[in-house]
Subunit: 323 residues, 2 copies
Amino acid sequence: MNLQDIYQNLKKDLQRIEEKLQESVKTNHAELHDSATHLLKAGGKRMRPVFVLLAGHMGTYDADRLQQVAVALELIHMATLVHDDVIDDADLRRGKKTVKAEWDNRVAMYTGDYIFARALEGITRIQNPEVQHILSSAIMRMCQGEITQIEDLYNPRQSLRRYLHRIKKKTALLMAISCRLGALVSGADPEMVRRLYAYGYYVGMAFQLTDDVLDITGDEQVLGKPAGSDLRQGNVTLPVIYAIAHVSPSNREKILSHLESEGKNGSAEEILAVVRMSGGVEYTMELSRRYLQKAILSLEFLPSSHARESLRLIAEFIVRRSY
Amino acid sequence: MNLQDIYQNLKKDLQRIEEKLQESVKTNHAELHDSATHLLKAGGKRMRPVFVLLAGHMGTYDADRLQQVAVALELIHMATLVHDDVIDDADLRRGKKTVKAEWDNRVAMYTGDYIFARALEGITRIQNPEVQHILSSAIMRMCQGEITQIEDLYNPRQSLRRYLHRIKKKTALLMAISCRLGALVSGADPEMVRRLYAYGYYVGMAFQLTDDVLDITGDEQVLGKPAGSDLRQGNVTLPVIYAIAHVSPSNREKILSHLESEGKNGSAEEILAVVRMSGGVEYTMELSRRYLQKAILSLEFLPSSHARESLRLIAEFIVRRSY
């Protein structure tokens, strides 16, 4: 079994989810419809829906309920992507802000708001206030994570603990909840729900750590964006945090000066070269592999099944994609 | 009975609502806590909570449930205020965008997101998916209204119908829902719920029409912002729409040129003077009074009570405040 087989097995449900996502953003507001549809068509791996469906196999599989949960989670993920792009867009950062650019930003903000609300509105159909509570709490915590990330921009003095806390809220939480809710609405027993939550959390951590490594080492053509975009935006990731603590005093000074000047002193390329040589990449990948191990261990409690095997393969792929 | 008596009668509940609002934005994230608390302390008339409580008197008054509904509605209102301010702030508009200003904007966006989610999270406690559905749908429709407003910025060709539709989503909807939910969670009979919804809707329309007039005629010291700020932001309100259709060709050309140049041709003061002379203010006030009449008529079906009398007084005050 490979990744393609997993998607093939879930094909029917994923197609329905795709249709429901399209229905969700159907509105007679042209601007809203266009921006939401653009995002939908951009696709993505639909990881959260896949987690929901696979976790659903650990209980009594109810395709319709699981699809609704999956749609809500994917909409929440989409809304966060829309808001991540607000203000960040190149037009603004180059200082050439036009009225149009300002409008686009405002439209993007309300489009994100709309999609968040749509996620929580759609899920009321499954008549389970606990699910509603879990999703709205998740959005709150993700917002806290985003604000922490803004507070920490260009901050060279970040503990490993604070970094991990941040990526948990940014990424791991929603993956954990995808697994949890898939199991929960399928009536899986509480211990299974707990283990699947842990699996999703560990996978999410491994995923974000790998992502942060790929941003340092990756190829622009593979990533679809230039390497080092985190650094350029002031987002200090673990390889950089590690480098600050482990490189020579002169290189350390280069990184600190670059960050403290908000990117004005020294070039990002220069800093990336220092980080790549520091051992920070290897350290981060090792941590990612440890989370992967924990994810796989969390699955051992579950009965052997096709779904369990799929979850294991996804976890491995997530970390391996960097090679 | 006057407005002060109404607040006095609801004092205990309003104080608990204030405490719950403060608890709602309590978080260990300094930035988030600061910006949300700042907003809370800025106060406001707490109109939506007042509507919830008064409508609650039409059924079996359950203070705790009503307070929770009131808190959710006030939080949604607060979140929209936070997002209205995003990007709009003076720092940005004067083109002096600093990194700090950009961060503040991003923090404001996520603070708004957090407050929206908090509203929907808090309300899960009353275990009523219908309430959840009404609130999340309301947010969706308010977002559509905001996007329409952005699309219509500086657009001189707006129908009365489109304008009314816009202010409905922007303002009247949340007031209507406040009345509806207060009645609904108190188990008032469906016809009463419907009438109270209508009351809230008509009051909300009258409120926004009056607000749009005050922005044209008002005194900076009373408003707390310069007169004409709608026009300066490109927000074309009914007095202006009326003026375009009724002033002399040369004055009409002045307004059109001002709007089509996005405020560059001619001064806002000049346009405001034309609008003030056009009869648009009187026309808008007359429409506001008609909505007020409809609001008061909606109350007639309800049994005579202290709460009903309070709702009538509030409606009258909302329109009269302009004199």
